[in-house]
Every structure is written in C-alpha cells, then in structure tokens.
C-alpha cells in the first residue's frame, strides 16, 4: 500500500480532489454515526407515527397504515390535551421564572457578605438528580401535616392564629342535631323550661375523650331550667344510638349555647365531668340548645399540593428550586464581566440603583440572559422525570406534560408506538423554533 501523502499537494485539479477526499474521510465516521443514530430513527419515528398500534416493525414499519389517526387522537384524547396544556404552562412560566429568580439572586449575591456560602446553598440542588428531587418534594408535599414538611410549616403558622377544638373529629349521633363543624350543631326541636335535652356526639376516638370524663349523667328535669347532657354516644358494639347508656362517657368542657326563637344566643354554659349542663331561669318561650362551633374547630388538614388542581404549580416550584442555582451562577459570571466603569459612570450621572439595574445592568446582561432563557426553554420542553416522581398515581394524568405522555403511550403500559411516535413528532416540531433561535445565536457569536 502507498504511504498517505501528508504534505500539501501542488495546486491543480488532482490536489483539490484529494483534499475533498481527505475531508470526506474525516467526515465519514461522524456522518455514519449521525445517520444511524439520529437521522434514521428520526425518519423512522415520523413514518411510524402514521401507523397503528400493531403495525409490523421492520427496517420501515409496515401494515396497519393509520393515516393521521394518531395525530387526531393526540388532539382529541382528554389526557393528551391536558398534557399539551400543561406543557404550554411550563413553557410560559418556568423559563421566565428561573431566569428572573437567577438574576435577582445573582445581583443580590454581589452585595452580601456571605456571597460564596449563599451561592453554594442555592446551587446545591443542582447536585441532586431530578428524579431524586422529585422524590424529596413528593414527600414534602404530602397533605397530612404530620408527614409533609410544607404543610407542617403552614400548619405551625396557622396554629398560632387558631387552636383546634377538643372534639374536632366529632359529629352528631342522631339527625336531631343539625349544623356543621363550622357553625356548630343545634337541636332542631325547640324545648321550653323544665325539659331535658340529649346532645349525643359520635366518631370520637377514645384518645380524644377529655381526661376526667365520667359516666354520662342521668338527667333530672328542673323547674324553670333547661338541663341536658353532651356525651359520647358510643360503647363497644355501638350501643343504642341517641340514648345515654351505662358505659358511655359524658364529655366535659364542651361549650353549649341556648338560642331563643329569634336566633339570638341567650345563654352559654360549659359541660361538667359527666357531660351535664344547665341553663337556669330561661323564662317562657321556646329555645334551641346547641353546641358551639369552637368545640369542633378542626386542626389544619393540609393543602392538597399533590391534588389535581395544584399539582402542576407544585412541580414547577420544585423545578425552579433546582434550576435557579444554575441560572444564578451563569448570570453571576456575566455580571462579573460587566465593566464597573459603566456602572460607576451611570451612578455619577445621578442614576438611582433601580435605574442602574434596569437601564444598564440588564441590557448589558441580555446575551447571558438569553442563553439561560433558551437553555431553560429546551430543558422545559423535555421535562419528564420530576413530573413522574412528584405526582402520585391519582394525579399523574393531571400533571403530565408532552414528554411524559410520549413515554407512557409508547412504553409505560400502553405500548402504542404509533401514538407515541406522533407525540414525539409533535414535540420535535415544538423544539425546532427554539433550536433555530439557538443556531442563529451561535452563528452571530462566531
């Protein structure tokens, strides 16, 4: 074999040919790789998206040609439309917020003393994989305040404002008492002086019965007064509902009220250890006794972060938590490169700090900001793992974005590669404008 010619050939036709051949030789491996791993799969996916679920997979798909059916179902199936809507929300909200928050952090860290420590902390989430981030935030978002950190924090603040009632889980044992935990419960049938009333409550766990509770009192009518008991209308096996029995406890410390026929509260009382209460000297007329709402004030039950309504904002918050650090570092680097003299000049000319920020810093940072924004835009279009790991099964379809449905329809159980390919093509079309934007920017920079 002839040794390859290394030295530059003399000018002329054969030289150009050889140079082209060398260039081709260098390009060929990359071209082959691109063809096999990018070009062919892309073309295959596009063709596959026009075939049905059970089409035969070969070098090219065959059989069960479906036309544009897959695209039709992409825009008519409820859960897929939800995914498209969610992706739109993500695109509108997430990149802008990440860039804005990153900018704020970057500018602020320039001025605080512990800038390095602060930057390190904000950047830290970048070291965690998005899936793990999702798992962490899923646990933090749990509705029960005794398990979810976010709701525990909200609950702690709320408990300063209002304390839960003693019997927050209780409800009336008979339909004679009506109302709601928010308004309290009132006996429907009016009573007059000298009569007795039974206010039975149920669904009280043994652990919630106030300490000191005794066997429920046996009522004696008293002249000129209305007497009654509030008691836990339950004993093992259920007992007779609506009747105080041996083995059932009175509920002490319950606030009861007496309402006259005009709906005004005329007297208040607190029950004794045996659950009994007395309204003395009630006079004539008819009255309705009831239990005050304060008894039932429920403890904070938690915000349903993982419920269908809040799930997408919840996931976006977690996503921002991760990426704000990245934006901060990149923008911070851009900030460091701005010449101080320009800022000083602006200040000397009498610009306020806000004006300096708005009119000088931000315009000078614009190239960096657009890099961050476009990077985040591409990132957001393919967001996947954090959605899967935060949303519980019951709200997976409410949280899903396009990439999630692409996976779920092709691999996540449905195994419909036709529909999956159609979703992939749709996603591809969405990415193209952003890609063009990016390529143009590269060209400008070169």
């Amino acid at each position: 074999m002839e040794p390859p010619v290394v030295a530059a050939p003399p000018s002329g036709e054969p030289g150009v040919l050889r140079r082209n051949a060398v260039a081709l030789g260098f390009l060929l491996p990359a071209a082959i790789l691109l063809t096999v791993m990018v070009l062919y799969p892309t073309i295959y996916t596009i063709i596959r998206s026009f075939f049905g679920k059970d089409a035969h997979e070969g070098f090219l798909p065959s059989g069960q040609f479906a036309g544009i059916d897959n695209y039709k179902s992409l825009f008519t199936t409820n859960i897929l439309v939800t995914a498209i809507k969610n992706s739109a929300i993500w695109i509108l909200v997430a990149p802008a917020l990440v860039t804005a928050i990153g900018l704020v952090f970057a500018v602020l860290t320039e001025r605080i003393r512990w800038a390095v420590a602060f930057k390190a902390i904000v950047f830290m989430p970048m070291a965690i994989s998005l899936f793990a981030t999702g798992v962490i935030w899923h646990v933090m978002y749990i509705k029960d305040p005794s398990q979810g950190a976010v709701n525990a924090a909200i609950g702690a603040v709320k408990s300063w404002v209002s304390t839960p009632g003693a019997l927050s889980s209780a409800s009336p044992s008979t339909p004679a008492l009506t109302g709601s935990p928010q308004s309290g419960y009132v006996l429907q049938k009016p009573v007059s002086a000298g009569s007795t009333t039974l206010l039975g409550l149920t669904a009280i766990p043994p652990t919630d019965v106030p300490s000191g509770a005794k066997q429920v009192a046996t009522l004696q009518p008293k002249a000129g007064a209305i007497t009654g008991v509030v008691w836990r209308d339950f004993k093992p096996g259920g007992g007779v509902i609506g009747k105080p029995e041996q083995g059932e406890l009175g509920l002490p410390g319950v606030h009861v009220k007496l309402i006259d026929s005009s709906g005004k509260t005329v007297q208040r009382a607190t029950t004794g250890d045996d659950g009994s209460f007395t309204f003395d000297k009630v006079g004539s007329g008819s009255f309705k006794p009831g239990i005050a709402a304060s008894t039932f004030a429920a403890p904070f039950g938690g915000v349903s972060w993982l419920g269908s309504r809040l799930i997408t904002p919840a996931v976006i918050i977690a996503y921002i938590w991760v990426w704000a650090g990245f934006a901060m570092v990149v923008i911070g680097a851009g900030l460091a490169a701005i010449s101080r003299e320009v800022l000083e000049a602006a200040r000397t000319d009498g610009a306020t700090e806000w004006q300096v920020f708005r009119r000088v810093t931000v315009p000078m940072l614009a190239p960096v900001l657009s890099v961050v924004f476009i990077t985040m835009l591409i990132n957001v279009l393919k967001v996947f793992d954090i959605v899967i790991s935060i949303a519980p099964g019951s709200t997976q379809s409410d949280a899903a974005v396009i990439a999630v449905q692409m996976w779920r329809q092709s691999f996540g159980g449905v195994n419909d590669f036709g529909l999956g390919s159609a979703i992939a093509v749709f996603l591809f079309l969405l990415v193209i404008p952003v890609l063009l934007l990016n390529v143009r920017r590269f060209r400008r920079e070169v």
């Binding site: 749990i142 149920t202 043994p206 652990t207 096996g237």
Partner: protein
Amino acid sequence: MKKHRLVIAALLGVVLLAAITALASAKPAKKSASGNINIVGVWTGDEEKSFNAVLDGFRKANPGIKVTYKSTGDNTPTVLATAVAGGKPPDLASVSQPGLVNDFQKKGALKNIDYARGTLSANYPPDIAKIGVVKGHVYGLLIKGANKSTVWYNVSSFKNAGVKAPATFPAFVKAAGTLKASGTPAFSVGGADGWTLTDLFENIYLRQAGPAKYDALSHHTIKWTDGSVVKALQTMATLLQSSNIAGGTSGALQTDFPTSVSNVFTKSPKAAMVVEGDFVPGVVASKNALKPVSGYNVFPFPAIGNTKNYVEGGGDELMAFKDTPAIRSLVKYLATGKAQTIWAKRGGYTAPARTVPASVYPDAITRTTASAVGKAKVFRFDLSDLQPASFGGTVGQGEFKLFQDFLKNPSNAKGIAKQLESAAAKAYKAGK
C-alpha cells in the same frame, strides 16, 4: 519481549483450555437433550429457592432428567419476547401476566398442555383449572395463586368498637358504621394506586353480578354501562363515603398502597381495615409493630348474597414452549398437591391445588388466606389484568384513572360507567 510472549502464550493456553472444557461439557448435554428442561420465570430470592425445592422432589424421582431454573424477575416478559422472536425459547416459563399466555398462543409459540388435564381435574378446583384455557386447549397452568379477596384489620380497633369480623356484606357496612362511631375510620384506601380501587370493584362485582357477568365483562361482551356495573359502583360508594375513609377521599387519593397498609398496621391506627390481597402484610414486613392474629388479622371479603368461598385472585402461570416426554412429566408433577405442598410448607405461597391441606401452611394467617384459594367455589382472575393495557394497566388513564375519579365523587356511578365504557371501547378497538 520474551516476557510478553510468555504472557501471550499463557493467555492462549487459558483460552484453549476454556474452549476445550466448554466443548467437553457441551457434548454430554447434547447427547441427552431429551432429558434436559430449562425453565425461566419471575420467581427470585426466597421464591426461587422454594421453587428449586419443589424441583428437587422431581429431580430425585427422575435422576435422568436435568432441570434448571433461571430467574429473570420482572424482565421475564421482555426476555421471553426476545427469546421467542429469536427462535430459542425456553422449555417452560412462569409469568405473572395472564395476557402473555394469550399473546404467545396467538403467535403460535406455545405447546398445549392438554396432557395435564387429568392431573388438573384431580388436584385443582374446576375454576382454577380453567384459567389457562385458550380456545379449548390448556396453555397456562396456575402454579402460584394469589388471593385478593381478603380484608385486613387492626384487632384493637375492632375490639374498641366492639365489632367482629363480618361474614356478610350488610354486616360489613354495619361494622364500618360502628367503627366510624367509635372514632376510627373504617377503611384505609390506597387511592393513589388505581389498582387498589379496581380490586375492590372486582370483589364486589364478582359477588353481586355473579361469575357469568364477570366473565362477560372481562371479555367486554357486555358493556360497562350495563346495569350490573352501575349497581356494583353504587355498592362500592356505600363503602367509600368520605367519613368512612382515613383522611377522607382527598387524602385517600394521595395515599399510596404501602401507606394505606401502614395506616392500619400500627399501634395508633388511622383506620381499622384495608381491603387488599394476601400480599398486604409483606408490605410492612420489616416495620410491622403488630403481631399476627393478636395485633392484625384477616377475614375473607364478605359475601353478597349466597357467595361464600368466592375468590378474586391472581397468580403466576406456567406455559410450555416445547413438548417432550420429560416436560410432560414435569408439568404434571408441578400440578400435583404433593409438589405444591413442598412450597406451601416453606411459606410465602398460595397453592392453587385443593389437594394441599390447610394444615401444611406455616402460620394461621396464611392458612386462612391460602386455603381459601384451594377451596374456592368460584375463582376469577383479576379483571383489570385481563384488559388491554391501555385500559386496565396504565397509570393515569383507563380504569385506574376513572376509578380514582369515582373515589373523588362516588355519587357519579352512572357517569363513571359511561366513561369506563368509552375508554374500554377505544382500547379494544386499538387492540384489534
């Protein structure tokens, strides 16, 4: 240089030796190929050990046949699909997806095991023997059963409320009410996992509508808008009132299955009962604060009407890709009560054979859950497992999603039935 040569020579020697031994070991294997059986399957860990113990019984009786079991775990469907496509399937395979038996049968990859019919009728309850029958021939053999008609409860919650394990559905509803009055919500529902809800529905449907309708619904020959479906949904709604459930319905929708179990299996329970299959205690095995029988216990899903010993369940099926005398004798052996007793004694197993006596199970709880399968009067496979995956087995859509919507709003039985029907119709159309 010399050193290098030596090393190369040594390496060559090793390779040569390896090749020779490989040849040598391959040769005798080839000679007695008819006596070789290889099995792949889903069982790993303890289950793998137990299955090997079952195989040992066969090996001892048939020293001429070499049986090997290779565990492929959760990847079994993929492994089998590739092996069949490549033309080199194993002799036997165990899978936990009943749909695979149909799939491979359709592709013509399976050999029927009609030769085991005699053994089956001698050992299995008729309903379980019928499970793997496709187009009149036996293609699948349930080897390891699972009982999904069980209700697990916290014994002290039951004691506090003074209720006993109910045997009938009205007693069940009444017990739920009494538990609520005692201050402990009756049910912990893992609504974040849609399959817990389909299991509850299937238990009710099998008992209320009967096995014939159940079969029809599982083949989609009746519609989901059928009156029987709506009625079962309404029955389900009587159990799923928000005040009956720990955390209410919105809390239940965010409770995953393991949490729903630990809500009940604790000393300060958030709910008294969890309705799920025999695998429930395994979920909290490492952190279970309660002792079996005295702390937690189980009862069969209550009968609706005259439906005692009705079981909704599942399990792992064995299918045969080849047919040799050796394989025939092994398949027949695995279907006997004798073989399954070996596994039953080791625990973690529910024998589908009725000829396995309840007394061989290692503890009282398993005796209740496992022997129910063997003595089942009616046994039906989990209905959602028999549906196209896009309808019966995908998170966030189809049955799973619609039953979660139903839990959110249990008064909407008719609306959900309508949506179930349109989702099912779509999935069945796409599947054809």
